[in-house]
């Protein structure tokens, strides 16, 4: 029954994630990581603090004491700045800062005011923020309700170097004028700011010291880039998802010769727009994911000799023109996923021996093409999902000793093929979500004892196949949803103490005995046992799983009310529950 439950990963791959070779690629787990923000409970935050081995300093103890008694204090301005800054940060971290307690920080000469996503921040708070005067170096009021007038009071804080007003939807074109006085800014972040228009962007022209500018998701930015023309110090420019940027905007970037990082994913640009980037000789990161460009744009790109990362995921690349990739010998990260390229393109990658991450997801490549990857000995991450790669091709990969992550889901690879990659003992993450894989294939991999992430979602693994899971003591995530596992197989999983994610859904024979067996896997953050015979009677086995944040028991014999009971009684960190 598992075959009916195949699924694809998230749609857009962030190239920075690609570069760092993250292993948490299943959609559900990524979401969990994003919830680790301030909104989570105090319990969790305390749990993340240094353990009993770390002795708190007396200053730390005093700061914590001040936090507890914050209502006693009305003025911290007599304290040295570093102490008032520590108290301020503590209150923010613990969500103890209020409009009233903020008042005690008036004229404290604070340097950093980071109120990103802090609840309740509005114009009334900004007066105290501005009272830090020339001391103030960085401010973050992202996601606040601050309006133009709140922003305006910052105009005298002219030493400010870094300002972030992401997702501040109350700020208008008019409000952005305040920025033009902050000429010491080196970093400015205005994600999803509708005020950045052809008119609003005028303020940028005066910010000649800007090094980092983040304009991601600004929906009305078209026509505004002309004001960036003179910002010669700019090194990073993020305009991801600015889907109104067109080729005509791009020409204003052509003189920004210090640019090292340029993000343009999902902009409305074509090969013509890319041609304006030709002279950006320091450009190291270029992200064109989801742009309507073709291989013709590679002619301009081939001149970018400093390029280390190139993301062309979901573009319109065919083989013709790919020969222009050959000269990019410094490339470490190349994403060609979801393009129309075939084996004929891969021959042009042969000399790119610095490559560490290569994404060929859903390309029309097969066994022959992999021959050209044979010499890419630095490869750490290789994405071959949804390709026509089969067992024969894998022999070309058997020398890639540095491979840490490989995705072979939805390929033609069978058990025989896995023998050829069984020696890749640097592998930490392996995706074998594929119906052809059985116990025999898994047994061939028993030597890969460094595996931390193993996805066998659709593989046909039986209880006897799970014997070899016992070797994978480092496993942090395991998905095994082929439908053939019973409680007997779970015995081989119960001692994998490092597991944080376990997905055994679709195995219709699993019973409450499984809950009992895994009750000692206390590191678990996410557990999925949907479509099994788990029942209300077994739920009490979960109560030791104190780190659990997500629990899915859809189509089981459980009721939402019984789960709610155990959640309230024993599982303080559980925030996502199915059924609800």
């Amino acid at each position: 029954m598992g075959s009916a439950c195949s699924r694809k990963r998230g749609q857009l791959v962030h190239e920075d994630e690609l570069y760092s070779v993250r292993f948490s690629k299943s959609g559900s787990f990524k979401w969990l990581l994003h919830t680790l923000s301030r909104s989570s409970s105090d319990v969790l935050r305390k749990a993340q603090r240094p353990g009993p081995g770390h002795c708190p300093s007396l200053v730390e103890l005093c700061v914590a004491r001040v936090r507890e008694d914050i209502s006693r204090y009305s003025d911290f301005s007599m304290l040295p700045r570093d102490l008032s800054q520590q108290i301020f940060n503590e209150l923010v971290e613990w969500s103890y800062l209020t409009e009233e307690s903020l008042e005690a920080f008036r004229d404290c000469a604070l340097q950093d005011i980071c109120l990103e996503e802090y609840p309740g921040v509005k114009d009334a708070w900004m007066e105290v923020v501005a009272s830090q005067g020339q001391s103030l170096l960085s401010v973050d009021i992202s996601c606040s309700d601050v309006t133009d007038s709140g922003l305006d009071v910052l105009k005298d804080c002219s030493n400010m170097q870094s300002l972030a007003c992401n997702y501040c939807d109350q700020i208008s074109e008019h409000g952005l004028k305040t920025l033009s006085g902050l000429s010491n800014l080196t970093s400015l972040s205005l994600k999803k700011c509708a005020a950045v228009t052809a008119e609003g962007a005028k303020a940028f022209a005066d910010l000649v010291n800007l090094v980092n500018l983040d304009l991601e998701r600004c929906p009305k930015i078209h026509g505004g880039l002309v004001h960036l023309k003179g910002l010669r110090k700019l090194e990073t420019l993020n305009m991801r998802y600015c889907n109104c940027i067109t080729d005509s905007d791009m020409k204003y970037l052509s003189d920004l010769t210090n640019l090292r990082e340029l993000q343009l994913s999902c902009c409305k640009i074509s090969d013509i727009g890319v041609s304006y980037l030709k002279g950006l000789s320091k450009l190291a990161h270029l992200n064109l994911e989801g742009c309507a460009v073709t291989a013709a744009c590679l002619e301009a790109i081939s001149g970018l000799a400093s390029l280390i990362l190139l993301n062309l995921n979901r573009c319109g690349i065919y083989d013709e023109g790919c020969e222009n990739l050959e000269g990019l010998v410094k490339l470490k990260v190349l994403n060609l996923g979801f393009n129309h390229i075939t084996d004929a393109c891969l021959v042009h990658l042969k000399e790119l021996v610095s490559l560490e991450c290569l994404n060929l997801d859903s390309c029309k490549i097969g066994d022959e093409g992999l021959l050209h990857l044979k010499g890419l000995l630095q490869l750490r991450s290789l994405e071959l999902s949804d390709t026509e790669v089969g067992s024969n091709g894998l022999r070309h990969l058997s020398g890639l000793r540095n491979l840490q992550s490989m995705n072979l889901s939805f390929t033609l690879v069978t058990d025989i093929g896995l023998k050829k990659v069984a020696g890749l003992n640097s592998l930490k993450s392996l995706n074998l979500d594929n119906r052809q894989i059985t116990d025999n294939g898994l047994a061939a991999l028993a030597g890969l004892t460094g595996l931390t992430h193993l996805d066998l979602f659709g593989a046909r693994i039986t209880d006897s196949g799970t014997n070899c899971l016992r070797y994978f003591k480092e496993l942090q995530s395991l998905e095994l949803c082929g439908g053939l596992i019973t409680d007997a197989g779970v015995k081989n999983i119960k001692d994998l103490k490092a597991l944080t994610l376990l997905n055994l859904s679709q195995n219709g024979n699993l019973t409450d005995r499984t809950l009992e067996l895994i009750s000692g896997l206390t590191a678990l953050v996410s557990l999925n046992l949907s479509n099994t015979r788990v029942s209300n009677a077994g739920l009490h086995h979960l109560k030791l799983l104190q780190n659990l944040r997500s629990l899915s028991l859809d189509s089981c014999k459980v009721t939402a009310s019984e789960i709610k009971k155990i959640q309230l009684a024993s599982l303080p960190n559980l925030i996502s529950v199915r059924p609800e």
């Binding site: 009993p52 002795c55 007396l58 200053v59 103890l61 005093c62 004491r65 008694d69 102490l83």
Partner: protein
């Protein structure tokens, strides 16, 4: 000892010697606290004073004056030194008590002593 001690051994001995003994801490009012050198070295400031070779008069005389730290605060700080030693060795699990009235003054002194 017949043979000269190996270098590693000598270093360990020197360190043990450095940690041994007591130091006198003198408050603004002139009140004297005798604390184990080992405890005093919980403070990075004191550690620097007491260990830098020949640099500070304190190193030789084994006493340090704090003209800006009151007796009550200095006493609290000495208590913290011992609490910290016990905490680090796992013998102490109770919280270190801090009275709200002295928190800010104590924090400033702790900041100066880098502890």
């Amino acid at each position: 000892m017949a043979a000269p001690a190996p270098a590693q051994h000598r270093e360990a001995e020197e360190e043990a010697e450095e940690m041994a003994g007591v130091v006198k801490l003198i408050s603004a009012e002139g009140f004297e606290f005798f604390v184990d050198k080992k405890a005093a070295m919980v403070s990075n400031t004191l550690r620097n004073m007491l260990t830098s070779p020949g640099g500070f008069a304190e190193t030789r005389e084994g006493e340090v004056r704090f003209p800006e730290i009151s007796t009550a605060i200095l006493e609290k700080i000495c208590q913290y030194f011992y609490w910290s030693l016990h905490y680090s060795s796992g013998k102490e699990t109770a919280e270190f008590p801090i009275e709200p009235e002295i928190t800010l003054e104590l924090m400033m002194a702790a900041n100066y002593l880098d502890t």
